[in-house]
Amino acid sequence: MTVKVSLTVNGKPASAEVEERTLLVNFIRDNLRLTGTHVGCDTAQCGACTIHMDGRAVKSCNMLAMQAEGADIVTIEGIAKADGTLHPMQEAFRQHHGLQCGFCTPGMVMSAIDLVKNFPNPTEEQIREQLDGNLCRCTGYHNIVKAIKAASQQAA
């Protein structure tokens, strides 16, 4: 059995016939071919699959595509400007070398944007505490925290 799912992804309408059990992350990666959203642990722990749904950061591997029916989804591909100018959070990650292998980075950036929105001008402790849903297997946390701190100061 299949169902039709329709939603907005990065400002564009998207729809497809999918199996009911299709996870949102698989819809994004396999149907839309937006492979910037990663599947790390597939158990909702690592946060590599973090996207924004109606302005909230959520883990796309732990929800059905159908749960996003009618929602406004933003993935890592949708945050830079059309001319290629990076989002300030992406730019801060680049400036502060907030990545090593890069696998966790899309999720880190999407999570960090939501973090700064909910905790404007966060302390380092707040950043570390609120980043607990994102794991970096390279353990490159110091520079990630620095990048988020820098981006938050820019935003303020």
Partner: protein, 265 residues
């Protein structure tokens, strides 16, 4: 994940109808436990009834006497709610330490209570505050709601619609969490209502429970030293790779003491 039929419903009554007919149907709230269980094939419902589109189930109302939270209200909304922070700050702070930020953006109070995970946080608040769980058919007192591991008083076709929390004089929740999963190894919620005190413990046993000895001591004198020397027997407590039963028993006393200290601030 095994396949299933997916169904969106507009009203609680529609959801109840489907649920009553099919014993293998499951309600989907935020899905932060259910989807994970389905991926592991620990749960394989025939039908998934998505409550996500029922607007009436979401929202927070508060006055001086009670805070009423709709079943589909996300943890993040409760944690950030100015009304909850003002009336029962301990409840907002509890909601802010469930899982991680992304989980809190999806997970709901109704889903957490219906699931009754032994290490979930909300059951401690519901039991300690003596909340009332409101369903589509009746009102269930907290003391009657939690029946055992993943077991509640909810009957077939019954759906939680909201939870009503009485406002205490002061309260606090202290959680010793697993550093990886963020689940409570032990969490203690202490609520002082002036004439009575209620203490509820989560994470330590098959289901949330109250500690009569601590409640009595705190009703006589609400101070950390009242509970500091109350030893909890480890019989019946969870023993697993995260913590042995005697360690959990010890943690209950320590967390209770810290909760009282925090409530007094």
């Amino acid at each position: 994940m095994y396949s299933f039929n997916y169904r969106k419903v507009k009203t609680v009554a529609d959801a109840a109808k489907v649920l009553a007919k099919d014993g293998d149907a499951k309600l989907l709230a935020g899905g932060q436990s259910l989807i994970a269980a389905m991926k592991l094939r620990l749960a394989h419902p025939s039908e998934v009834i998505d409550l996500g589109t029922i607007k009436e189930l979401s929202g927070i109302k508060a006055d001086g006497k009670a805070v009423v939270i709709g079943a589909m209200t996300r943890h993040a909304e409760v944690a950030a709610s100015a009304a909850v922070k003002k009336a029962i700050p301990a409840l907002a702070s509890l909601a802010g330490v469930i899982g991680d930020r992304m989980v809190r953006n999806m997970g709901t109070i109704g889903g957490a209570l219906a699931n009754n995970d032994p290490a979930a946080d909300y059951p401690a608040a519901v039991l300690a505050l003596g909340a009332t769980v409101v369903t589509n058919t009746r009102k269930i007192a907290a003391d009657e709601f939690f029946k055992g591991m993943y077991e509640t008083a909810l009957g077939q076709g019954e759906i939680i619609t909201s939870v009503s929390f009485p406002v205490p004089k002061r309260a606090a929740y202290m959680k010793f969490r697993n550093p990886a999963s963020r689940y409570a190894i032990v969490g203690v919620f202490v609520a002082d209502f002036g004439s009575s005190v209620r203490v509820a413990v989560t994470g330590a046993a098959a289901s949330v429970f109250r500690v009569a000895s601590m409640e009595k001591a705190l009703a006589a004198k609400f101070a950390p030293e009242s509970v500091a020397n109350i030893a909890i027997p480890d019989k019946g407590l969870n023993s697993d790779l995260h913590a042995k039963a005697d360690y959990r028993a010890h943690l209950i006393t320590v967390m209770a003491k810290r909760a009282v200290e925090t409530a007094m601030k």
